[in-house]
């Protein structure tokens, strides 16, 4: 059984910008343990011949199939800013420089 240490959990929570109180933290840690155990079970499974199994994680795209560099019309400003109240065509946001 693989667990997750308090330190590792605190690190993950910080990266995820989440905060947990004591009870919720225990609940989460136990769920995490289940997830890790499941991943380990998959890792340790004896799958036999996997060489012939095609990777289903996603296809590749060849360089030649990438998008050509041709301009298409953009949306008009009124459409782009339709969900907000623009000022002279700009979006306005909370002041970010003091």
């Amino acid at each position: 059984m693989m667990g997750i240490s308090e330190k590792e959990f605190a690190m993950l929570a910080r990266l995820a910008r989440l905060e947990f109180d004591g009870e919720r933290k225990q609940e989460f840690m136990s769920e995490f343990e289940e997830i890790i155990n499941f991943a380990n079970a998959v890792n340790n499974a004896v799958a036999g011949d996997t060489e012939s199994i095609k990777d289903t994680g996603g296809d590749n795209v060849m360089f030649e199939e990438l998008r050509e560099d041709t301009v298409k019309e953009s949306l008009p400003n009124e459409k782009i800013t339709s969900g907000v109240t623009p000022v002279n065509g700009y979006f306005t946001v909370k002041r970010v420089v003091k």
């Binding site: 996603g58 360089f63 030649e64 041709t70 782009i80 623009p86 946001v93 970010v96």
Partner: protein, 471 residues
């Protein structure tokens, strides 16, 4: 204590594509705010980014031009950060599979500054801070960038400048970017750390963000070195931080502290497939690279015999070099071409921007005709300079200005006769000159210029006079 500086540059270069990196909106600079935008570059839910082929090719080209190897299997990653200039709250960038890696830039001293990696990513929007408000324009959001990350091999502000200048020149030569720092199409983040001299260990670094002028970059590095040295001398420790440089005070200020890759929670971008760049494509891009500026400079000095100063000056402008080489192919001599270009043409173009564009009203073929008159001794240098200036101003061809009456009709024999006449007509000046007053010869020059209506080749005149006067 004596310290050594270790400096590395992260240089962002905007690629000169027509469209953005993941959508078909224009990348044109300027335009009314939020008019070069679509659902993809403003990060609307449900849209899918589609990588621009030319941006990818430019990034590979940039890597090859600085000696990098190319990752032929590459993918994009998400770099998460929340700021209003990024509507998706993540930037699509590259982490572990950059398009290229492992190159270098060689400085004049022969020192090589390593290039760790070059990766491709999207630019953020532009924030405008006015009267206590923050306005956002997403026209720039999604413009393709390459980030060129150097090793911390740079050991002075001057080296940092030279590295950035060379990089800028190479990127312009290979046509991937105009690298205009004043317009933001090239920007540098500078990492600076100090360590005790000879220790060989890297100190704690600080990063000065978004330098858009080379001279300010030099000042910022010098200031930051002094600041760190003062802290270390007082027994303090340097805190890893991201700084900004205030151009008015000449000082650096902390924007935020400690920031590592893990803070960005990178993960593979699920909306974009892994990209395969076949070896043949890499070879094709490599074969299409133009002659690079420093190779050209070497060729100009070693093969064409141009002095190092002029070779360096000319090779700063690729279009000029192409035009000059075209003039040579029409039979113009190197020496007179270079003198007219660095004298008359540079002065006519005056600004860096004009020299960079090199958009002249004069073909290389017409220029070559003029230079050939000079090469053949049919006109003097001053006549050539004057004619060239008029050709540049009017766009008219050489024959409009080099007419029969301008061409030197004076044979060597006639010129010798005129020189003899000058000596005969100016006995006092001759006596003074022979007596040691060198300036007295100007009286003879004046006589000869009047007699030939200014068309005499003064080099020949000098030779004839010195022969006659020394008899």
């Amino acid at each position: 204590m004596k310290y050594e500086m270790n400096c590395g540059l992260e240089t962002h270069v905007e690629l000169a594509t027509e469209t953005k990196i993941f959508c078909s909106c224009t990348t044109r600079f300027g335009g009314a705010p939020n008019t070069h935008c679509c659902p993809i570059c403003t990060g609307q839910p449900g849209v899918l980014p589609f990588l621009n082929k030319k941006a990818t090719e430019f990034a590979v080209r940039a890597g090859l031009a600085v000696g990098c190897k190319v990752n032929t299997v590459t993918h994009m990653d998400r770099k998460n950060y929340c700021y209003p200039d990024l509507p998706k709250a993540y930037q699509i960038s590259q982490l572990d599979k950059p398009l290229s890696y492992g190159g270098f830039i060689e400085l004049d001293s022969g020192k090589k500054i390593g290039i760790t990696r070059i990766h491709i990513e999207e630019d953020a929007g532009k924030l405008v801070h006015e009267r206590g408000n923050t306005f956002v324009d997403y026209n720039r959001g999604g413009v393709p960038l390459i980030e060129i990350v150097s090793e911390p091999d740079i050991s002075s502000a001057a080296e940092a400048r030279e590295y950035a200048e060379k990089l800028q020149l190479i990127m312009r030569y290979i046509g991937v970017s105009d690298c205009k720092m004043q317009e933001g199409s090239m920007r540098c983040d500078v990492n600076v750390s100090l360590c005790p001299a000879g220790s060989g260990k890297l100190g704690v670094r600080t990063e000065i963000k978004n330098m858009n002028s080379l001279s300010f970059m030099e000042k910022a590095i010098e200031y930051e070195c002094e600041r760190q040295a003062e802290i270390l001398d007082e027994g303090g420790v340097i805190e890893q931080a991201t700084l900004r440089f205030d151009e008015h005070t000449g000082e650096t200020y902390v924007m935020r502290t400690k920031e590592d890759a893990q803070d960005y929670r990178y993960f593979p971008e699920p909306d974009i497939l892994t990209v395969i760049i076949p070896e043949e494509t890499v070879e094709r891009i490599k074969s299409e690279l133009p002659e690079l500026p420093f190779d050209k400079m070497r060729r100009y000095t070693d093969e064409l015999g141009i002095n190092a100063k002029n070779a360096r000056l000319m090779c700063r402008y690729k279009n000029l070099c192409l035009w000059f080489e075209s003039a040579l192919s029409y039979g113009a001599s190197v020496k007179h071409s270079v003198n007219l270009i660095t004298g008359v043409i540079f002065s006519f173009l005056s600004t860096e921007e004009n020299k960079e564009k090199f958009d002249l009203n004069l073909t290389a073929a017409e220029f070559a005709k003029l230079v050939k008159y000079l090469d053949e001794g049919k006109i003097t240098v001053s006549v050539a300079q004057s004619a060239l200036l008029q050709m540049l101003q009017s766009g008219k061809c050489v024959n409009e200005f080099i007419t029969e009456d301008v061409l030197l009709g004076t044979s060597d024999g006639e010129l010798e006769k005129i020189c003899q006449d000058a000596i005969a007509a100016n006995p006092q000046a001759v006596a003074d000159y022979v007596g040691g007053k060198e300036k007295a010869i100007f009286a003879l020059y004046g006589f000869i210029k009047r007699a030939t209506q200014g068309k005499a080749d003064m080099n020949k005149v000098n030779n004839i006079l010195s022969e006659l006067l020394n008899k």
